[in-house]
Symmetry: C2
Subunit: 349 residues, 2 copies
C-alpha cells in the first residue's frame, strides 16, 4: 500500500511563494489575506490538486464533521432508505456519513465502534443485534461522543438518545383486525424477543388476543432471525400442520418474501385460503396481487429524526440528559385479509 508523496500545504506555499500559514489562512478565510496573494494561492491549489490532510487538521483540534452509522445489514432496503434520509439531513448540516455493516455479529459491532472512535467521528447512530451483549454493557457507556440508538431497549448513558418504533401498537392493530374478521388461529412470525422489536410485537399480539378473549396458541408464535430461507420453511411447516392457522402476521421484512413464496408454492390463495399481514412499504407489499395489508412506519422520517437528535447534541443545544422517543407505526389495510373460511374459523385449539 505504498503511496507516492502527497501534495502538502508546504508544496503549495513554496509554489505560491508564501508561507504555509498564509496558505492555511487563505483556505479557511480565517484572516485577511492580500486578495492578489489569495488568488495566486487558490490557483496553485487548483493546479496542484491539493487536498488538505484531514488527519493533520483534526490532530490540530478540528472536529471531523463525520457521523458513523452502524447497521446490521446494508442489503436490507429499509436500512438503505433509513441511511439515505440520515445522510440527507446530515449533509444539509455539513456532516458526512460513514456506514459500517455488522451483520448482527457482536464482534463486528465492536470493531466498527472501535474504528469510529479511533477516527474520532463526532457522533454515532447505532443498532445492536443483542441488547444484553458485552458491547452494549461495556463499550456503549464508554463512548464519549453523542449516540443515537435505534429500535432497541438498553440503558442509556449520558449523551445517548433512543428512538424506538412502536411495534407493540402495530402488532396489536394487525392482530385485532384479524380477530375482528373472525380469525382465531393466527400465526405470528417475528424476530426474537431478546430485542425490542420482537418483544413488543409479541406483546401487542398477546394484548389483542387477551382483549378479544381469544387464546394464543403458543405454537403459532414463531421466532426467526431475519433470513428468507428460514421463513420459507417455517411458513411451509405452519401451513402444513394439523390445524393450520387461518391467518399469518409476518413481522419481519426479510421474512415476508419467504412466506409469500411458501404460500405461493403451496398454491394457497391470498386471502381466500389464508389471510396475510406483512410489514413495511416495499414493492413486494404494494405490488403483490392482492396488495398486502401491512404494519408500516415512516422510515425517512425516522432517519431524519435520528440525524436531528444527533445534530442537536453536536450543536450543544441539548443537555447531556438521555432522551427516549417512541416512533409511531401505521396499520395499512389492503386486500390480503378477509374472513376465515367457514368451518375452520371456529375450530379453536
Amino acid at each position: 500500500m505504498a503511496k507516492g508523496k502527497r501534495i502538502t500545504i508546504i508544496d503549495v506555499a513554496r509554489e505560491a511563494g508564501v508561507s504555509a500559514g498564509t496558505v492555511s489562512r487563505a483556505m479557511n478565510n480565517s484572516a485577511k489575506v492580500n486578495p492578489t496573494i489569495h488568488r495566486r494561492i487558490m490557483n496553485v491549489i487548483e493546479r496542484l490538486g491539493y487536498e488538505p490532510n484531514s488527519f493533520a487538521q483534526n490532530l490540530r483540534g478540528q472536529v471531523m464533521r463525520t457521523v458513523g452509522c452502524l447497521v446490521s445489514d446494508l442489503s436490507n432496503p429499509l436500512h438503505g432508505v433509513f441511511l439515505t434520509a440520515v445522510e440527507q439531513r446530515l449533509h444539509a448540516a455539513g456532516l458526512m456519513m460513514v456506514v459500517a455493516n455488522s451483520h448482527n455479529l457482536e464482534q463486528r459491532e465492536r470493531e466498527a465502534i472501535s474504528l469510529f472512535r479511533r477516527r474520532r467521528v463526532d457522533g454515532l447512530i447505532l443498532t445492536f443485534g443483542d441488547e444484553r451483549s458485552e458491547v452494549v454493557r461495556q463499550v456503549l457507556p464508554r463512548i464519549d461522543s453523542p449516540v443515537v440508538i435505534l429500535d432497541r431497549d438498553v440503558a442509556q448513558p449520558k449523551q445517548c438518545d433512543l428512538i424506538q418504533v412502536d411495534h407493540r401498537t402495530g402488532a396489536y392493530q394487525a392482530t385485532k383486525h384479524l380477530l375482528e374478521l373472525g380469525h382465531r388461529r393466527i400465526a405470528l412470525l417475528t424476530p426474537p424477543p431478546t430485542i425490542w422489536p420482537g418483544r413488543e410485537r409479541i406483546a401487542g399480539f398477546r394484548a389483542a388476543h387477551e382483549q378479544a378473549g381469544a387464546k394464543v396458541d403458543e405454537k403459532l408464535i414463531r421466532i426467526l432471525d431475519a433470513a428468507t430461507p428460514l421463513a420459507y420453511s417455517e411458513a411451509k411447516e405452519i401451513i402444513g400442520a394439523n390445524s393450520p392457522p387461518t391467518a399469518i402476521i409476518c413481522l419481519g421484512t426479510q421474512m415476508l418474501s419467504g412466506v409469500v413464496s411458501a404460500l405461493s408454492s403451496a398454491f394457497m390463495k391470498i386471502p381466500e385460503d389464508i389471510s396475510l399481514i406483512g410489514i413495511g412499504d416495499t414493492d413486494l407489499v404494494r405490488l403483490h396481487s392482492p396488495p398486502i395489508t401491512t404494519v408500516r412506519w415512516d422510515i425517512p422520517a425516522l432517519g431524519r429524526m435520528a440525524a436531528e437528535m444527533l445534530l442537536s447534541r453536536l450543536d450543544g443545544t441539548t443537555t447531556a440528559e438521555p432522551r427516549r422517543v417512541m416512533f409511531p407505526t401505521e396499520f395499512v389495510q389492503r386486500a390480503s385479509c378477509t374472513q376465515p373460511r367457514r368451518g375452520k374459523s371456529t375450530t379453536s385449539a
Copy 2:
C-alpha cells in the same frame, strides 16, 4: 461540538508508569516488551477505554486501511447488496468501507471524492451520474489512490480499473426473446444513453431488431432517469397510445415498480394483455404473479470483484496499467411473456 479531553497514549503511559513509546510498542507488538509491563499496559488501556487516534497514526505514515465507496442511491436495494458484498470482501482483508451517497449530483460527487481524499482513504469505488462531467474529466485523473469505476465508460487514468456490466447482451437477449414470440411493437424503458447502461441497452435492443429484420419504433424507446413516479406515468402513456406495444422491456430497477403499478391500475393482465420483461432479481420480480422474466446479473459477485480489483492494487500485486472487465448478464425466463394477441401482433407501425 465540544469534546471532553480524550484519553491519549500519554495518559496510558503515565498510568502504567512507562513511556509513550513503550505503550505504542506494547500495542503494536512491534518490539519486545517485558511481559509483566505488557500486561500492566493492556490492563490500563482496558480500564481507561483508550482508543488510539487514527489521525495521529496516519499522520505518522500509517495507511488508513479504508476504502471509500460512492453510490448514487443508498436506498436502491441493488446498491445495498453490492455494498454488502464489497464490505464483506474488504473486511476479510482488514479494510473498512466508508459509504457516501451522490444522488447522481455532480456537486455531491465532487464533495464526496474530495472528502475521501482528505481523509486519505486507500482506495475508491465510484460511480458517476454523467460520464462527461467535469468530475470525471478533471478530478478523476488527479486521484492518487487506486480507483475502481463501476458500469461506466470513461477514460481510465493509471491505477484506475473499470467493471462494466454487459447490458448490451442482456437487452439483446430480452428483445430477441420477444421478437421470437412474435412481438413487433416492443417498448423499451431505459436510463439515458449518456451513460453506459443506457447506451448499451439501447444498442442491444436495436441489434436484436436488426437481426430479426424488424423495425424499431423510436417512439417506443423511452429514456428515463431512475425514478418510480416518472416510470408510472410513462408506462400509462405508452399503453394508452394509439398503437400500443404488445410488450414492454423495463430496464431500470426503480422503474419496474412504476410500470407494474401502471399495468395493474390499467387492469392489464400480464402476460395475456401485455408481455413484460424486467430487471434484476428483486422480491418484486420473483414474487409477482406471474413471476417476471428478467435480465439479471450477480451483484454480490460484482461487489466481490470490485473489492478484489482494488485489493490487488493496494497489495501492489498489480501494475498501474488500467484494467477493463466485462461482467456478464443472465436472461431469466419466467411467466411474464407470451405470444402477442392475434390481430395485433402483425400490426406493424
